[in-house]
Amino acid sequence: MDVNDATTVTEQKPSLPLLRTEELLLNLGPQHPSTHGVLKVVLTLEGEKIIKSDPVLGYLHRGVEKIAESITYNQFIPYTDRLDYVCAMYNNFAYVRAIEKLLAIAVPERSEYLRTIVAEVQRIIGHLFWLGTQALDIGAMTVFFYTFRERETLLDIFDELCGARLTTSWYRVGGVERDFTSKIIDDLYKFVADFPSKIEEYDTLLVNNRIWIARTKGIAVISGEDAVRFALSGSTLRGSGVDYDLRKISPYGAYDKVKWTVPIGKHGDTYDRYWVRMMELHESNKIIKQCLDQLPQGEYKAYVPQVVAPPKERVFTDMESMIYQFKLYSQGFNAPPGDIYCGTEAHKGELGFYIVSQGGSKPYRLKIRAPSFIHMGAFDHMAKGYMIADVITIFGTYDIVMGECDR
């Protein structure tokens, strides 16, 4: 090629056909291991950059709200286990709290402590599950084995407590199903003493891990104002610097009787949400320890015979208790007409139940405010402009569970 040829080529350049840059449509999921269940997202891409994303929900829709209208209030408790199947205890808690608000019944003090301890144990399990899978999605596989080691210990405690590991149904309207045994208290004390050193172990794997930081810092940023507008809740909202925690705003259980703080992030990126959740592990540990120390003596169930099943010993010896038990399990209890909303700070966010009662033993309408579903509403906003690999990080940072999202 001589010099003259080269000049002719440069002259021709403007008229050469341009590189084709059309947008690409990509279906991610529903059968993708990192989508945390059956979630499909239709991504519009420009190269590797996300222009628009449209989550397609409903692959796990079971019509739980419709089913609730045809069964009694107590019969719905096992259904709540299957909403967020990673954290069944907290779903039970949120549901029975809503019913207690509707019926206006109080719960004995010991029961409040037991509920708080188990709820915080469930929060630790949820956060460990989240940490393991989030790190696994990003490529740090070891963390998964470490977190699931502690999760097993806690699930064994649940096994001892109610005979089930995942679908627990331990909470009851007016109290809990059974009291702690001394073995559970010993196991919990042992766990609480060990756990801070375990969190340090997770930190050694992640805090200085360059890949982890590169994949989380400055990814999926959402400002505090936007996060509130999109109705995000839980750690996802607090990572953006908004101080919104229902355990502080409208305390329930024993949360107002123990000392703990709400960790707040600053930048609203994936790293800050990770940091908030790691701090919450420490706080939950503190709450459990203080509750165990303060655990009062007393009943673990309220004595409201028409609503709460009487203790088994009394059913066998006392005529009235037997009648109440029979009526409760054959007909359920009647709720007064009215409508209430009761939100509870589950580990994923604000899990709320809106219940419309027209009297009778079945809800007229039961609506579940599922944080996973509402978080998916902000997905497009948070994924826009990032790379396709970051989509996986965003699924993880919401900590979504499709059972709750699709209901």
Partner: protein, 174 residues
């Protein structure tokens, strides 16, 4: 408006008073039940009340909690759309309720005010068939786009489902 038994009149609540002063024609009443304030409105005023709740500095409702609809089958205005808001700074709550009739099953969307309501309103449309005017993207969300057996949370929708499902043998034999 008749206050149902067991509920308290909520007109003296400061939030209810503000709305009644500003929207005297659209305000139909307020109730208090277990500490929850509910305000009944005409559906035409829902959007403006929403804007007022968000922008008035003394109300400052910044957080949309949930959107729900309830089917009161047999009543002249069959559906009720329920919006619940919370103020993170002022720490108070309000629930707005507007009745919608079956013939004119539409209500103004509040998504232009709070973007987070987008998915929640889509769910109400999907499950109960209430159309939201000016909604940016009103499609079914949990059910497939081509689903045409109706709206499952309506009271006249059978719990076992419609279409091929109600030809199961065990349903016919019972």
């Amino acid at each position: 408006m008749n206050i149902p038994s067991g509920m308290e009149e909520g007109g003296n609540h400061p939030v209810a008073q503000k709305i009644r002063e500003r929207f005297s024609s659209g305000y139909l009443g307020a109730t208090l039940f277990r500490g929850d304030l509910s305000i009944h409105l005409k559906k035409e005023d829902l959007f403006e009340v929403g804007r007022f709740l968000r922008d008035d500095p003394s109300l400052d409702f910044d957080y949309p909690v949930h959107v729900t609809s309830v089917d009161y089958m047999g009543e002249p205005e069959r559906f009720e759309v329920v919006y619940e808001f919370f103020s993170i700074r002022k720490k108070h709550q309000v629930r707005l309720k507007a009745r919608v009739s079956e013939d004119d099953c539409t209500v103004d969307s509040l998504t232009p005010l709070w973007e987070g309501l987008n998915y929640m309103e889509r769910e109400v449309y999907d499950m109960m068939g209430i159309k939201f005017n000016h909604h940016p993207d009103l499609r079914r969300i949990l059910l497939p786009d081509e689903y045409d057996e109706g709206y499952p949370l309506r009271k006249n929708f059978p719990i076992e489902g419609r279409g091929w499902r109600d030809t199961f043998e065990f349903l016919e034999s019972s």
